[in-house]
Each structure stands twice: as C-alpha cells, then as structure tokens.
C-alpha cells in the first residue's frame, strides 16, 4: 500500500481541489500545499527504506494475467523525489503567478493529477503499469496546455495531443505485444526478458515501438514538435511539466526500457542501442543550434530542454555504467536547473511582460535576485564546475569515453559550448542598460521570487555536495549499479 501513496496523495488532492470549486481559494491552497508536504514525507520514508535495501511493492489484479503494480525502488524514487519536491516549490510559485488568473480550481486540480501520474510513472513496476500512468499524464496535461482557452493555446493543445496520442498508440501496441510473448515482466535490473531473448526480430520491433512512445515525451527528434508550441501554457506548467514531470517521464521510460526491461546486454546484442544513441546525438546538436536562434525566451529554453533530454537518452543508450548513472543523475540535475530558468521566464513575463531576449536590457538591475538565480542555473547548464550540471556531464563524458564512444564525448563537449552560446546572450542582454532600468530593485511577487531563489541555491548546493552519499550522483550510481552486474565506480 505504501508504494501507492506518492501517487494517491496528489490524486486525492486534485479531486479535492475540483470539489472545493472556484470560490474557496484559501482552502485550495492549504489542501495542495499540505498534500505536497505529505507526499514529500512519504517519498522520503520510501527512500530510506530503499537505501536500506527493502523495496516496498504491491500489485493489484487488473487484466487477465496482468496486474497493476507499484514498486518503490531507488531508480523510480529518484524521479518521484524530483517530481514531488519540485511540485511543492512550484505550488508556491503558481499561487503567486496565478493570482489573477481564471479557472484556478481547474488549473490546480489538473496540476495535482499530473504529479500523481508522474509519480505513477516513476514507481510503476512493469511496462503495462508504466504505460497506464504515462497515458494519464498525457490526458491530464492537455487541460493545462489549453488553460487560457485562446485559439493559440487550443492549436498548441491539438498539436500536443496529436503527438502524445500517436506515441501512446505505439506504446500500447509495444506493451501489449510484449505481454503476449512474455507475460508480466516486472522491471528487473539488467533486464527482464531473458526467457524470450531468442525472439530477436519481434524484440527489435517492440523496442522501436516503445522508443517511439517514450520518445514523444522525451522530445527525441523528430518527435519533439509539440514541445515549443506547448510553451503557450502558463509558466508553472512550462516549469514543472515541460521541464520536469512530463518530459522526464519520457526519458525515465527510456531509462527503464534500456536498463531494466531489455537490459544493457540484450539492448547491445540486439543492436538497438546504437541507433537510439545516434538519434539522441543528432537531437542534441540540432536542438542546440536551433536554440541559438530563438528570440522568444521560453522557446529558447524549450529547445535547450530538447537538447538536454537527449543528453539523458544518449547516456542511457551508450549502455555503459558510468554514462547510464550520469544520465540518471542528469535527470535530477537538469530538472533543478531548468525549473529555475522557466520560473525566471514566467516571472519576467508576469511582472514586466518581457517575452523576448531582445526586450531584456535593464532586467539585471530591475530584478537582481531573479536574474542572479538564472545566471547560476545557466552556467550550471553549460557544465561549469562546481555547479550542479558539471557532475552529471562529467560522468556522461567519461562514461562515453569508457564505452569507447569517443564520438559521444565530442557531442557532449560541443553541445556544452553551444549551451554557453545560447545562454550567455540572455545574460548579456539582461545586463545591458535599457527600458527596465529606472525602477531598480523591484522584484516580482515574493511568492514567485523565493521559489526562484530556492531552486537557484539548490543548483549550487547540489553541485557542491555531489560527492556525498544521498546526492543525486551517488543515488544514481547506486540505482544503476545492479543493471550492470553490481558495477562499482
């Protein structure tokens, strides 16, 4: 039962939010913040158990011969922790951001349901359960993308659905096919398909179907088209869902697929890992180059997200322990860095209606704390030590060299340079004197400011503590090691 709670608590909060209706705003905030606090405590307890070697799991029967299962292992808990903790931070931000918005009950209700679904994806014990929560995540995100109800938002929503449901269809066929040939296949470090590993042709097709399904949310090119458009959603949605929960559900699916469904060995011997790696490498380069040319702030961040997600996919597809651990750590690290940036984008828009990089001159003086947090996150993203992005990029780079894929190392290094290329102009633009200069030091609403500072500080703290037990780096290495036969770094 305990393994279900990180999914159930936000779900109940979401339903309660709908039930409270549009008028009881204070009660709604209390319910959501309390649910976030409870969820964080529940996840923390599960993490302690998992670190001590007890994986709590539970399965209920659903379809003939197949159950719906949840299992609180370290790998899943890393994603659940990221989603839940950042949900709490984003709630505070969203309460400030949505202060004057309409339909807030609907917004916060679906927001909580999205987190429930993301935690379901994180802790799902087998492909079918993961697929179910993955699809719930697609559906519960739609009302948030079209929240404003403008023609532009509805068009973005249509595009989002087109991709998400198409990917879901591929995933359904892949998961059902797998169930037909292998029955229930709980995720197992190192692979769960040993019994049917001789059906190579079918397994290759299924792998492609599953990658097509997860690739949509992971924004793997050419399946990324929905993400830049979805930036039309309110900033908290872009921050938490389109930088953390939704897109990470995609890469998390790929991590489970490679490490714990097929296993690195089978994925390599079937020859399916290398094409995935190449696809991811191409995505990194193309998306980074496109990001250089975006003037729209959120779109630039969106293309950067596409590139960074493919970092994770590439690291996973290399099937080498250090790169795989680096990929998992980067899932957490990128979440912290990117949420800082999207928070910034939201608050400069909400406070000053700045949407474009070219409109930024004066911002650094006007909103120093906000822009300082952004700067820290931007340098972290480019992999400057000792900030948080450095540790995972180091692991990814060394891991690719170890696995003999020097080309991947080159991709990582050059994309780090590209990241500087698309981040630094934002900073220089903000540092210039300009329109926003006069009213210096007037930051945004404190409910938006402090969450930004919090995650900004987190990018420094997590970077400095990367070597300690319990840090995402250590956690990722512990969670990945069993997939590589008890590898120790």
């Amino acid at each position: 039962m305990t393994a279900w709670l990180p999914m159930l608590v936000p779900a109940i909060a979401g339903i309660a939010t709908f039930a409270l209706g549009k008028s009881r705003g204070r009660a709604r905030n209390v319910v959501n913040l309390a649910a976030a606090a409870i969820s964080i405590a529940l996840v923390a307890r599960l993490v302690v158990h998992a670190y001590n070697g007890t994986v709590i799991s539970s399965t209920i029967p659903m379809l003939p011969g197949l159950g719906l299962g949840m299992s609180a292992d370290l790998l899943g808990l890393l994603f659940a922790t990221v989603a839940t903790v950042l949900w709490g931070v984003t709630l505070v931000y969203a309460i400030g951001y949505m202060d004057h918005a309409t339909d807030r009950a609907r917004f916060f209700g679906f927001f909580a349901l999205c987190i429930a679904a993301a935690n379901g994806v994180a802790l799902a014990d087998d492909p079918l359960s993961l697929f179910i929560f993955y699809e719930i995540l697609s559906l519960t995100t739609y009302p948030l993308v079209v929240h404003t109800g403008t023609p532009e938002a509805l068009a973005a929503g249509r595009k989002y659905l087109f991709y998400a449901l198409g990917g879901g269809a591929a995933l359904l066929v892949g998961v059902a096919w797998l169930a037909v040939i292998a029955g229930q296949t709980p995720f197992t470090p190192g692979g769960a398909l040993a019994a049917v590993s001789d059906r190579t042709a079918e397994l290759r097709v299924i792998f492609a179907l599953l990658v097509a399904g997860f690739g949509v949310k992971a924004a793997l090119m050419p399946l990324h088209g929905w993400l830049p458009g979805a930036m039309v959603a309110p900033a908290p949605v872009s921050s938490l869902l389109h930088a953390v929960a939704v897109v990470k559900a995609g890469v998390f699916g790929i991590i489970r697929l490679v490490n714990e469904l097929y296993g690195p060995e089978l994925a390599t011997s079937l020859g399916v890992a290398t094409p995935l790696a190449i696809l991811a490498a191409v995505s990194i380069i193309i998306a980074s180059v496109i990001a250089l040319r975006q003037d729209d702030f959120k779109r630039r961040l969106a293309y950067s997200t596409i590139a960074q997600l493919s970092y994770i996919t590439l690291g996973t597809a290399l099937c080498s322990p250090l790169a795989a651990a680096g990929a998992l750590a980067h899932l957490a690290h990128h979440a912290v860095m990117k949420i800082t940036m999207f928070f910034t984008a939201g608050s400069v828009y909400e406070t000053l209606h700045v949407k474009k990089v070219s409109q930024m001159p004066g911002l650094a003086r006007r909103m120093p704390l906000t822009m300082a947090s952004f700067a820290v996150a931007a340098f972290a993203l480019a992999g400057i030590p000792p900030l948080v992005g450095f540790a995972s990029k180091w692991m990814l780079g060394v891991g690719s060299a170890q696995s003999g894929s020097v080309w991947a190392l080159i991709v990582y290094v050059s994309s780090g340079a590209l990241a500087l290329g698309y981040m630094v102009p934002i900073l220089t633009s903000a540092l210039r004197e300009g329109d926003h200069t006069p009213a210096r030091g007037a930051e945004s609403d404190p409910r938006m400011l402090w969450p930004i500072v919090t995650v900004g500080v987190l990018t420094v703290v997590l970077g400095l503590t990367a070597g300690l037990p319990g840090s995402p780096v250590h956690w990722a290495m512990t969670a990945i090691a069993p997939s590589f036969g008890g590898w120790t770094p």
Binding site: M62, D103, R106, I136, L172
Partner: protein
C-alpha cells in the same frame, strides 16, 4: 436463496408489471413507479450475476413447463453482464428522465406514455437477453423494435417522424428476414431451442441458409456498416433519454443474439467466411463511423455516428475466435468489456448532450463555446466518457482495447490490432474536436434555467462508471468464463 433461482423470471415479470402499473398510475405517479421498478430490476440483475458466478449458467423453466412446450430462460455469465448493464443504465436514464421530461413542455402529447413504453422496452430487452430459443428471439426483437420506434417519435416533430419511419422500415425488414430464417431452420431441423440446435446441427443447405438470413437480419438491427443507414437519424432525433437507451442498450440486444449464434450455437466454420466478413465490416464501421462523427456539426449526430463506429469493435471477436481457446477468451472478454464500457459511456454522452442542448437551446457544436466554465460537471462528464471512447487508460474502454489488441497479436493476425489503434486515434480526434470547443474561453449566454442536479450530475456518474470499470475487469473475466460460449468451447471446465 430462492429469489436468486427465480430471478430470470422476475427480471421479465417485474418491469412488465411496472409498465402496466405506470400506465394506470397517471402522469404524476408514473415516474415513481418507474424508479421503484428500476431499483428492483437492478437488485434482481445483480442477484442473478452473483448466482451465475457461484453456480454457473442455469436454465429456468417458466411456470415449470420444460422444453419443447414451455418457455425456457437461459442465464449465463454473458447474459448476466448485459442484464446488469441494462439495469444500471436503465436506472440512471429513469432518474434523468424525471427531470428531462419535466423541464420539457408538460402538455406535449405522448410524454405520459414514455414511462410505460420505456418499461415495456426494458421488459423485452431483458427477455431477449434471457431467452433460450430462436423463435422467442423473434418475438422479443419485434417487441423491442416497436417500442423503440414509438419512443423515437414520442417527442413529435417532422424530423423525428421521418427518422421513426426509417427506423420502422429497418426494424420490420430485419424482423421479417429473421423470421424467414427461423422458418428455414425449423424446416430443416425441427428445432428452435438453441441448446438443442447446438448439439444436433449438421451440415445442411436449408439450415445454413436460415442461419445466414437470421444473422443478416440481426446485423441490420445492430446497425453494422453498411446497414447503419437508419441509426444516426433515429438516435440523433429521439429525446435524449431515449437516444441513450437506444445507443447503449438496444443495439446490444441484437448483437448478443449474433454472439450466441456465431460462437455457441453453430459449430466452427458452419457458415464459412462469415466470421471474416463480420470482422471486415466491423473494421469498416470503425473507420467510417469515426470519420462521419468527425464531420458532424450537431452534437447528437456526432454521438450517434460514434455509436456506428463503436459497434464495429464488437464484431472483431468473430475472426479472432478461430484462433484457439486462449485468443477466444481474450477476445470474448474484450468485447464484453467493450459492450459494458460503451454502454455506460454512450449513455453518459447522450444524456450529457441532452443537458447541453437544453442549456444552450440548440445543438450546434460550434456555438457551445465556454461550456467548461458554466457547466463544469457536464464538460467533465463528456471528457471522461471521451476517455473511454478513445480506449485510453484508466477506463473500461482501455481494458477492452487492451484485451482485443492482445487477442489480435496473439492470433498472429496483427492487422486487427492496427484497426483498433486507428479507431482509438479517430475517436480521440472527434471527441477532442467537441471538447476543445467546450474549453474555449468565451462569455456564454446559457439558458436561464440553471441545470437540474439530475441533468448536471447523472451523465458524469455514468461516465465515472465507465472509467472505474477498469477495476472491475477481473469480475467481468469471471463472468465471461461463466458464459456458455467459453464453457462449450471447453475453456471453462
């Protein structure tokens, strides 16, 4: 548990008595009679399902006379599922109708008759699900057909009358063809009892012709493409509670008989190629119905064409049934789950469409912008019902799609899985086309009367049932295992 053993007879007798009492009770008291009847029938249906789960299928001799003289009722797991579905949707529709027909014009001719006709149709449907002999099927089909046609035209209006006339034509043509088929079958075998036919049927041109005619007639009654020409008009122009019953229950009645004839009565391959033809027509229905739904500009026409599409899924079981016991079990459970989830979701959609039409005062989808804000419960109901239509988790429709896709992949005939996936995507296209209008940010001039609590929340309740059905799939599987189809196929010992 005497009442459990008697429940098949009572499931016919109670609604019949309700129909008679509602006729003499007068317009004011008729709704109370109907609600009481619906509650009793639901209890009886659940009792029957429990009885079948415990002790397997059983025969019930009306009045103690056995075959061939008396009327035998047969209660198996599949029949129990359809009876329970009918009772749940029936109860909700009855409650909804108490609000719907009151807000309508009180003096409209015929509304007083609604209760009697509706309970009478319920009686005939229950009898159809329970009957064990092919001639009584004819009688029940006629009774269902006549009450259905009358209910379509009950609201009056030229459009409803035209639709009713077309429906009457289809219904009569179907009934006559079916009767001709029964006559041929009887001439060849001298038998009408399905159980006896199952054990005695031998290769014979006359008998085969008879059965083929019967199936063709039932296909017409089920509105399988290309015999769907009467459905959109009839279901689209009837009063909404009637549309709900027609779309979610009545088409399942004739389908249930096809299921029994194809998979239980006839030995495999008795009518060579028919199973494939039904599967191909089913696939055509999924695509054609969905595309038509996508093109509709009026809400109830959209929902009606969606029924044309969703009926198609039910016919995919026939080609899959040729591939051994495991695939048959998956596919049969799949179509039963589909029949249940579609029944609940489609009931919800028609009731919801009715409420939206009452509030907006028209049925044009394009002018329903802003409903999400002024009628959130209705919009949420449409959304949840839509999730089931698309076959997305978590919903009964997902369970059905999963089971059918698994059956298709396990059979090696993967192309049926492709049809299922395309059908789901097309359903998403037409449902989101509707939903995106409801979600548009627009000031709305809704009908002055705030919706009644029944017309606002009952559609949502049914849709929620369709979603939660995903948790009841183990139960449906058990009932499927207790169906005569699987027992006679040797799957269930």
């Amino acid at each position: 548990m005497n009442v459990l053993a008697q429940s098949p007879g009572l499931l016919v007798a109670v609604p019949l008595a309700g129909a008679a009492i509602s006729f003499v009770a007068g317009r004011r008291r008729a709704p109370h009679v109907a609600i009481t009847t619906a509650l009793v029938v639901l209890t009886l249906a659940v009792a029957l399902a429990v009885h079948v789960l415990d002790g397997g299928p059983f025969r019930y001799q009306v009045g103690g006379w056995g075959a061939p003289l008396g009327i035998d009722l047969v209660a198996d797991g599949a029949a129990a599922l359809f009876l329970v579905l009918t009772a749940i949707v029936g109860l909700v529709v009855t409650l909804y109708a108490t609000a719907y027909f009151r807000t309508d014009d009180e003096t409209a001719y015929g509304h007083g008759l609604f209760w009697t006709l509706w309970l009478f149709m319920w009686t005939s449907l229950n009898a159809l699900f329970l009957t064990g002999d092919v001639f009584n099927v004819y009688v029940c089909l006629e009774l269902v057909g006549i009450s259905a046609v009358t209910l379509v035209t009950i609201g009056g209006g030229a459009e409803a009358l035209r639709a009713g006339a077309r429906y009457l034509f289809a219904s009569m043509l179907g009934a006559m063809t079916y009767l001709l088929g029964v006559a041929l079958l009887y001439a060849a075998t001298g038998q009408l009892d399905m159980d006896v036919l199952r054990t005695t049927l031998v290769a014979d041109t006359t008998a085969a012709t008879g059965l083929a005619l019967m199936i063709a007639a039932l296909v017409l009654k089920t509105a399988l493409v290309p015999a769907h020409f009467w459905l959109p008009a009839a279901h689209g122009s009837a009063p909404s509670p009637v549309s709900a019953v027609l779309s979610s229950l009545v088409v399942k009645g004739s389908y249930f008989v096809i299921l029994r004839l194809m998979l239980d009565v006839m030995p495999a391959g008795y009518l060579p190629g028919v199973d494939i033809v039904l599967g191909v027509l089913g696939s055509a229905a999924i695509v054609w119905g969905s595309v038509q739904a996508l093109l509709q500009t009026r809400i109830k026409q959209l929902v009606a064409y969606s029924t044309v599409a969703q009926i198609g899924y039910l016919f995919l079981v026939f080609p899959l049934a040729r591939h051994g016991a495991d695939v048959l079990t998956l596919a049969l459970t799949g179509v039963l789950v589909h029949a249940l989830s579609h029944g609940l979701a489609k009931g919800s959609l028609f009731l919801g469409a009715g409420s939206l039409m009452t509030r907006f005062g028209h049925d044009r989808i394009a002018d329903m912008a802003g409903a999400a804000r002024s009628a959130p419960a209705l919009t949420f109901g449409v959304a949840l019902a839509g999730v089931t239509m698309m076959g997305l988790p978590p919903s009964g429709g997902f369970g059905a799609k999963w089971l059918l896709v698994s059956a298709a992949l396990a059979s090696g005939e993967w192309w049926w899985a492709v049809v299922l996936v395309i059908g789901g995507l097309l359903a998403a296209a037409y449902m989101f086309r509707l939903l995106s209008v409801l979600l548009v940010d627009a000031p709305t001039e809704l009908h002055a009367s705030k919706g009644d609590i029944r017309t606002e929340w009952l559609p949502l309740a049914l849709a929620l049932g369709a979603v939660l059905l995903v948790l009841a799939i183990p139960l449906v599987s058990d009932l499927a295992a207790a169906s005569n189809v699987l027992i006679h196929a040797g799957v269930t010992p």
